[in-house]
């Protein structure tokens, strides 16, 4: 950026300041042509549309206050940014002030978090104070996807039940929050075709204990054992190490109807839990973990 506007602002500020001083000092008194008559209130000689102005002086300390504002502005412009690109003697910036405030808040809360150090997640889950802080953290950072009650919804896992994609031990939960999780169900259309998808779906209803077409399900079993068991396990109960869900229970993250299940196989699913370590740091994640853990234990 050229320095033109900087110099423009500097010039305008200086001209205005000098101009204001001139207006102030030039208007302290008026020179009258005639001597005012005795016993008559003198007029200032100012006439606007035939309306004359009586002399009605302001208190002298007002003048001093005007001067003080000018002096203040000059001191301010030296100390703080204001004159074009001149950063001011104090080096103040709005960003610096924000950082200072943030640091202050950080220091204040770090002391609170420090009181929970050395306690295990299980212990923290029973600590009412940690629970309250955890609930606030959850409300601010997690509730937008998982719901205020942690009950989840379509595409976002329920955190209050016993069913876990990546494991429900304190350690597992802490890892999930810290580093995030990435679902990796691929699309199967090109591999097993639309017929294969229908057959596997029927098979899933069979092992889940629902109504199903026996013939389709038995072909589906072959397709399942060929392509699905490596992640979902031979019994279809899922493998938490891969985040592959249990397919024989009642919990369906992306819908339980045949059409929804087919869509999941057809297109694949890439559910993402973002990593929180950058935003929250360890101390807050520990409290969040204990809160999430306590929700699932109730």
């Amino acid at each position: 950026m050229s320095t033109f506007w900087s110099w423009w602002i500097i010039a305008m500020t200086v001209i205005t300041t000098v101009g204001v001083c001139w207006v102030l000092f030039a208007n302290r008194k008026v020179v009258l042509k005639e001597k005012p008559k005795d016993g008559e209130v003198p007029k200032t000689g100012h006439v606007y549309d035939g309306i004359e102005e009586y002399e009605n002086p302001l208190p002298g300390w007002w003048f001093n206050m005007f001067v003080a504002t000018v002096v203040f502005s000059i001191i301010y412009l030296i100390l703080y940014p204001g004159l074009g690109n001149f950063p001011g003697v104090l080096g103040w910036t709005s960003e610096g002030q924000w950082q200072q405030q943030e640091q202050k808040a950080e220091d204040r809360f770090e002391a609170v978090y420090a009181t929970f150090e050395g306690q295990s997640i299980e212990e923290l889950a029973l600590n009412p104070k940690a629970f309250k802080i955890g609930r606030r953290l959850f409300g601010n950072n997690c509730a937008v996807c998982h719901g205020s009650d942690g009950g989840g919804s379509y595409g976002f896992p329920n955190l209050t039940d016993a069913d876990w994609l990546y494991g429900g031990t304190p350690k597992d939960i802490e890892v999930s929050i810290t580093h995030g999780r990435r679902g990796a169900m691929p699309s199967w259309t090109s591999v097993i075709g639309e017929d294969g998808i229908s057959q596997v779906t029927e098979y899933l209803f069979k092992i889940g204990g629902g109504e199903h077409d026996t013939a389709l399900a038995s072909t589906g079993e072959t397709v399942f054992s060929t392509y699905c068991t490596s992640c979902h396990g031979v019994d279809g109960k899922g493998i938490q190490a891969f985040g592959a869900p249990n397919l024989i229970d009642d919990v369906w993250l992306y819908g339980r109807s045949p059409e929804m299940i087919k869509t999941s196989i057809r297109r694949g699913r890439k559910g993402i839990m973002p990593a929180q370590i950058e935003q929250l740091h360890e101390s807050k994640i520990r409290l969040l973990t204990s809160y999430v853990y306590s929700m699932s234990q109730r």
């Binding site: 008194k29 020179v31 042509k33 009605n56 002086p57 003048f63 719901g147």
Partner: protein, 470 residues
Amino acid sequence: MVNTEETHRQTSGDETHVLYLYETRKKIYARRFVGFFRKLKKRSGIPLLLGYLLLPWWQIDGRQAVWFDLPERQFHILWMTFWPQDFMLLAWLLIICAFALFTVTVLVGRVWCGFSCPQTVWTMMFMGVERFFEGGRNKRIKLDLAPWNFNKVWRKSGKHIGWLLIAFVTGFTFVAYFNPVRELTVEIFTFSAQPPAVFWIAFFTAMTYMNAGYLREQVCKYMCPYARFQSVMFDSDTLVVSYDEVRGEPRGARKKGSDYVADGLGDCVDCTLCVQVCPVGIDIRDGLQSDCISCGLCIDACDAIMEKVEYPKKLISFTTENRLNKTKSRILRPRLMAYLLALAAMVSLFSYALLTRVPLELDIIRDRSLLYRETSRGLIENIYTLRINNMDNRDHQYQIKVAGDYDFEMLGEQLVTVSAGEVFTHLLRLKLDPGLLKAGNTDVTFILTSTQDEKLTDSEESRFIGPFLL
């Protein structure tokens, strides 16, 4: 306004005349004169002053009776505790106060200024200290002109120490309304008070010292808006401090017992005592002026002189323009009645609102990111966060109920205990079979009722959202 002040005007030479647009303040040396109005002022002022100074020391149920707790955002006034949500009441109270001021102004002009305004009350106190150390009006003028010597130094410093003491007590008391006075007193004398408290005490001490010691009538003349818009409320039937010009003029000195009527003189003996006693430095004989604070001290002075020279009193008095012009004057006029009626209506409405105020506040925050949730059984769930603010001074147990067009199933605790002054966050879910829903969404009302007191109830509306129906 006609300006009679001419000392600011200076002439230089014969041809050109310079007019200064700023004037230096002419110090006012008010003479003390005891009479009816000064006594009245004292009798009305002392209880108000004592009230201000002693109120913070009063305790109710172990806490300060009047305590504006800013960090906690709770405002304790006697037996009640107000929250920021109640600020509507404060707004109404201020409107009522302003309206009461207008009503009084219609009736008797600026008596507020002359008798109850802190600016006047503190100025009078400071003038008392001034008189104690420096003596009466003439002595003070002489002292100011005298060269600096021991006598002047000790009198002046005594005055300033006295002023600062009063100012400190004022500032301290003011801060005590925000910071419990018992702790503050200990902290101040052990030099362990919090920096904000010290700053505000110093600030209000300095302001009191400046306002009552130096600025005095300048505050009324140049800062106070009330003086500027009073002319809107005055009419010819308003009681104002007035000089009876017909009776008094032409003014002039006279020998005792002389036939002044024959000499063509009026009742005014031109003793200028009314000017000398005036705390704002005006001459009431010039007529009603915006500077006049209706303190009545000139009436005291004039009446005393009239008594001395054996003329009838009330040459200067609280009277109306119409009476002075010998026309019919009605004090109880429709305008005043209308003001009084409106004031009475406002006061009763306000008292009603205050007495029936429910110290309970319910807020519903519906989960917005999830419009609804489908359970594994295909039912629709909505999630609500309830913020229950118990503004009462004791703990309460509340029963939560929900009302709407459908028979919702409520999941979550329906009985909650909230301690006094707590803002309690509570999670609730409503569940419904989507087949029952006749529209995509419906209104629901949450009702909170104390189990101890049925009158303690609040309700808040929210929505229940289901799948979009075509």
